[in-house]
């Protein structure tokens, strides 16, 4: 049953040190505000899963929240590397980061298997690829009917999944649209789920086939306008491409990254204040 609550309280009660955490959103609706709150509350030793780690996990990894990352594409889209991810992998800073690599198809399939309460997912991939040689999480099985050799990956069943969506109603039913990624699968695969939303409304006014997560599949719903920034929320705001480009310089060395995290996350008490500090910084640059 969804509780309408603050993001601070939701993270306090639902995200624990050492948890297996999924924060999903494919370019669109990335739950940045929630990622910041996890950093602010200094969660440790998380096992993070996400198709595209993006800036949200780069920040969490650099801030020392994670010990392992399960992913399929780890770059800054259209810009280059995720420097904090690379520093953790290549130099163990601020702590070593174990990697488990997949392709988008099989990792999204692994969420489907998790939501389906199955132990693994099958797909037709990886014959001839070196990925299975370097991963215990990709193995081959024989189809019991045809004998075909197929790839198997363990299902993804997070302790907690966090997503951002456009709307919830007052009961906590959640509506999202546009590029959906694997958010629905990730929520249904998890034991607990937090959803941040742009707005809370009386009526969702959705079509019958719309992507809706009924309130009883979600643990907490938090109203956080702009909570997907610098990614975008279809119908609300555009992707802040300039921030993605600026992140390359901010994250390139440890000092500038730490200064950014301190000023924007650790020294702010909410996403509202983060937005204010970010705006002030931009105003200074322009002025």
């Amino acid at each position: 049953m969804a509780e309408l609550t603050s993001l601070r309280m939701a993270v306090e009660s639902l995200v624990r040190d050492g948890d297996f955490v999924a924060m999903e959103g494919f370019t669109h609706l990335i739950p940045f505000a929630a990622g910041h709150e996890v950093i602010r509350q200094r969660r440790k030793n998380l096992v993070l899963v996400r198709l595209t780690p993006d800036l949200v996990y780069d920040q969490m990894i650099g801030a020392g929240c994670a010990r392992k990352l399960i992913f399929s594409w780890g770059g800054n889209p259209g810009v280059g590397s995720l420097h904090r991810l690379r520093d953790a992998v290549e130099h163990g800073w601020p702590q070593p980061l174990e990697l488990e690599e997949h392709g988008h198809g099989d990792l999204s399939n692994a969420y489907v298997a998790g939501a389906s309460n199955l132990p693994f997912a099958v797909s037709r991939a990886y014959a001839g690829s070196d990925l299975p040689r370097h991963s215990d999480a990709i193995r081959f099985i024989e189809c019991p009917f045809t004998g075909e050799r197929l790839a198997a990956v363990p299902s993804v069943r997070p302790d907690v999944t966090v997503i951002h969506a456009q709307k919830a109603d007052r009961k906590g039913n959640v509506l999202l649209w546009g590029i959906l990624g694997v958010q629905k699968e990730a929520v249904l695969a998890a034991r607990r789920a937090i959803v941040t939303v742009e707005e809370v409304v009386d009526e969702l006014e959705a079509w019958p086939n719309a992507c809706i997560l009924p309130h009883w599949t979600v643990s907490a719903v938090c109203r956080v306008p702009g909570g997907a920034h610098p990614s975008y929320a279809h119908g609300y705001y555009e992707r802040d491409n300039l921030f993605y480009q600026a992140w390359d310089a901010i994250s390139r060395d440890r000092e500038s990254f730490l200064a950014w995290v301190k000023r924007h996350i650790l020294e702010t008490d909410s996403f509202e204040e983060f937005k204010r500090v970010l705006q002030e910084g931009l105003a200074k640059e322009v002025g």
Binding site: T27, P77, S81, E101, H104, V112, A125, A127, G178
Partner: protein
């Protein structure tokens, strides 16, 4: 230069790659160079090409090139948007994709693709972004077209890591593994066009772009690359191809504050 209109090597690469898509193809599009080429094809000779992006849009017709694979412009202009798991399960693995259009950090003489690491996996010299959707696309798409800039660092005898399968060690290796798709059928670079030999599957240069010498291609390839006996020159970009590409780049630069790669 035999061209009537001045053009850059990057423009030639995108135009040459675009020409390989046919009207009616269902194309699974990688971000960056492949996306530019696929959209140029759609805006020129292949208006009915169906562009599928791994984030979920099917039949995307973006006005500007997406900076990332899940841009809103893809969803807004698509015929439908489905979940990422559905894209891979029903549409790609389901056998509905005729062409996969991919980039790569490193490829080898049998068009195997590396986007994982340069060097040893456990202690990489360079850690690359990883697989994305390419392993599944390289396995299941009807055929694969690769587009990337040519250099001896990117074109190596044997990739350090096979992220996505090309023709392995050549010959009938793919069919022996039972892979559903044909694999790479063309590699387009800023210097030339290569296709796998019909028997050995070794990449062979069939077309040199205008103004490019065989020596230049050899110098930019990390193995002793074969040239076709009937080596041809790629037709220079037409005025309309160039104009359409440049307008697309201009719109994109305006929208994003800078242009993605040509």
């Amino acid at each position: 230069m035999s061209a009537q209109h001045p053009f850059t090597a990057a423009e030639m690469m995108t135009v040459a790659a675009a020409r390989l898509l046919r009207n009616g193809d269902v194309c699974f599009v990688g971000i960056g160079l492949p996306s530019a080429a696929a959209n140029l094809a759609r805006l020129t000779h292949a208006p009915d090409v169906v562009l599928i992006y791994e984030s979920g849009p099917i039949g995307a017709k973006p006005e500007v090139l997406p900076l990332s694979i899940g841009d809103g412009s893809l969803a807004e202009t698509a015929d439908t948007v489905v979940s990422t798991s559905e894209i891979f399960r029903y549409w790609l693995q389901g056998g509905r994709v005729t062409v996969g259009f991919l980039g790569a950090a490193q490829i080898d003489r049998f068009a195997n693709i590396n986007t994982t690491v340069i060097g040893d996996y456990a202690r990489p010299q360079v850690r690359l972004p990883g697989a994305g959707g390419a392993p599944e696309i390289a396995t299941c798409a009807g055929k694969v077209i690769l587009v990337l800039r040519q250099s001896a660092r990117a074109f190596v005898e044997r990739v350090d890591f096979i992220t996505s399968v090309g023709h392995l060690d050549g010959g009938d290796a793919r069919s022996r593994l039972g892979l559903p798709g044909q694999g790479p059928v063309a590699v387009v670079t800023d210097l030339c066009l290569m296709t796998p030999d019909s028997l050995t599957k070794e990449l062979t240069v069939t077309h040199l772009h205008p103004g490019v010498s065989a020596e230049k291609v050899r110098a930019a390839t990390g193995w002793n690359i074969r040239l076709a006996e009937s080596l041809e020159e790629t037709a220079a970009p037409s005025f309309s191809e160039l104009e359409t590409l440049r307008q697309l780049q201009r719109r994109t630069a305006l929208a994003h504050g800078r242009a993605p790669e040509a």
